[in-house]
Amino acid sequence: MSILFKKILVANRGEIAVRVMRACREMGIRSVAVFSEVDRKALHVRYADEALAIGPAPAIESYLRVDRIIDAARRSGAEAIHPGYGFLAESADFARACSDAGIVFIGPSPEAMELMGSKTAARRLVMKAGLPVIPGTEANLESIEDVARVAREIGYPVMLKASAGGGGKGLRMVPTEADLESAWRNARSEAQNAFDDPSVYLEKRLERPRHVEIQLLGDAHGNLIYLGERECSLQRRHQKILEECPSPMLDPELRRRMGETAVRIGKLACYTNAGTAEFLVDQERNFFFLEMNARLQVEHPVTELVVGIDLVKEQIHIAAGDRLAWQQQDVRLRGAAIEARIYAEDPARDFFPSPGLITRLSIPSGPGVRNDSGVYEGWRVPLEYDPLLAKLVVWGTDRSQAVASMQRALSEYEVAGLQTNLQFFRQLLAHPEFVGGQLDTSFIDRMLAGRTLKIAPPTELGRVAILAVALEMSRWAQQHRGDARPNGRASRWKAEGRVEELNHWPRS
């Protein structure tokens, strides 16, 4: 094993920055945070061993500023940079700038990133190798006329996708030609905003496909292995919100075939470090290569819980030149894991983002529960960045145990001060079709459209709700009048008094 780095700069924020720093702390590596003006008190700044300011709130002036991040790495003496996901994670230019500055970029080579970064180039590569891809365009499309023509050829519905894309941004489903123009406009403008590159391409839309991806790990010595799959079919507006490992639909045979296909694709690109090959699987269990994500995925924890391997620590070892500690036959899946992405958004208002002050935070724990968070009680979630607050991940001996464990964990999760999708998840996890594992990428949107997620409560809960409001109203009234408080039968006055003193939250 080669000598590890002494200091790593994490060019990111939020939960993934903290996730990487946790790995550093456990490996005895000092971590360096970079932060924008609104992030001075962010958890990743508090958590790091060192922290340097890199500019104003807008990402384009801070977290996307290659020059400032490289400079911060130089000033702090960091030997390597971990990009997390998003921001500069898939920027080959950034990776090059790092190596030019003599800093190790923890990720694949710039060449592999460029190859995979352009989804159209990746599609061509895979097609040439005779591996299955989804019908669509090979090249980017520059004019609405081209788009219309190709769309007519392959037939509606079609998908418009940002070539530089990811995370559902710059992505639009187009049911008919009538919807094409506005979809084209929105996709390009969103892509421009998100990736500073408006180019999009076209793909045939499969009916009720499942989104299954294979985790890859490769070292600089030619070893490349797959670590099982992740089922990411649960998406809202083409954005993953809940992921599982293993996929309820895969058997060992299909897992092996998809895994080996993913490894072949990785080898085509001389891929190293952590990466993910995304596939769509149709109802007949045919799988088509979708894209290669040349980075650590948001949903990597479900793989970690099932295979028992810490992917971030492996990334660091690989970047340091170590050989993989595992061979393919050492990789064993145990049990099942599920991840739910906890967002600051308001389901009651079409999931609009809900930034603001976290006045109360109590996270679930206990058997099989993991919470990867980037926030804390008292933190004001800024509106400039992604609304992801935390990832709730659970493990169980099988899928049904994991589902039960996720239901339990969600029931314990408490966030106040801003709106979250926790209640949405509680209802989703109780839905029979989800429990049954009947998933596809349009499942959520169907549920929401059909209003079938919310079910009628047991009648006796009405009384409880009424009493709770009555208690809260009299509390407000008396707080207003400044006099004393009603007293529950069992609760002694003094004890009540003490507890109140402790909890004067401002309402926000």
């Binding site: 941004k169 929105n186 403008s189 969103e190 905003n193 600051a344 308001d346 079409d350 609009f352 983002p353 809900s354 930034p355 509106l383 960045y385 609304p387 029931s411 408490e414 106040a416 209640q423 509680r426 919310k454 079910i455 009628a456 409560p457 009648t459 809960l461 009405g462 009384r463 409880v464 709700a465 009424i466 009493l467 709770a468 409001v469 009555a470 208690l471 809260e472 109203m473 009299s474 509390r475 407000w476 009234a477 008396q478 207003h480 004393a484 408080r485 009603p486 007293n487 529950g488 039968r489 069992a490 609760s491 009540e496 507890v499 109140e500 402790l502 909890n503 004067h504 939250w505 309402r507």
Partner: protein, 180 residues
């Protein structure tokens, strides 16, 4: 304290109004007794923290969290959301004191000011002055937290005023445009 509460569960399957009465309220040492539609409610409650109560009824243990709806005015709110396990209830107060506010909070006919549900940046205005819009028609696109969100018309009407233009930043609650 006396008031009427209109209880509606979030699945929209039930809705009814109840009279609630509180006695011996706020007299330290003495317990408050609540009556629902005249019937005393046999319950044992404890405040875990403001807005969060542990309630025992007939040996059943419940945790209820109460907060004013986000469109409530400060002071005495008129609509509350109660969360119990995975269920949400909307409770509207028919208490005279509260009704004063009701007008502002939930205007459902007549002119309607469309407010920004969150802070962000206006990236596109999709309608113009005097334009007729149908329900759910896109009005403006707001970008926040890296997402573009299309704000749709809550009901059909005519756009009589547009207060914002593309590129400007807005605070939550800012007036965007006026529907009549």
């Amino acid at each position: 304290m006396n008031f009427e509460l209109e209880l509606r569960d979030d699945s929209r399957t039930s809705q009814h109004t109840l009279k609630v009465e509180a006695s011996a309220e706020g007299q330290p040492g003495r317990e408050t007794q609540f009556f629902i539609d005249g019937k005393p409610l046999e319950a044992d409650w404890a405040e875990i923290r403001p807005g969060h109560y542990s309630i025992l009824i007939d040996g059943q243990s419940y945790e209820a969290r109460v907060q004013p709806t986000s469109d409530s005015r400060p002071g005495q709110p008129e609509t509350w959301v109660v969360t119990i396990a995975e269920y949400d209830f909307q409770v509207k107060v028919r208490d005279p004191r509260a009704r004063r506010f009701a007008g502002q909070a939930l205007a459902h006919d007549g002119p309607l000011e469309v407010l920004a549900p969150m802070p962000g940046k206006i990236v596109r205005v999709l309608v113009g002055r005097d334009e007729e819009v149908v329900q759910d028609q896109g009005l403006v696109v707001i970008e926040a937290m890296k997402m573009q969100n299309e704000l749709r018309a809550p009901r059909p009407g005519r756009v009589t005023e547009v207060h914002v233009k593309e590129g400007i930043g807005i605070e939550a609650g800012a007036r965007l445009l006026r529907l009549e």
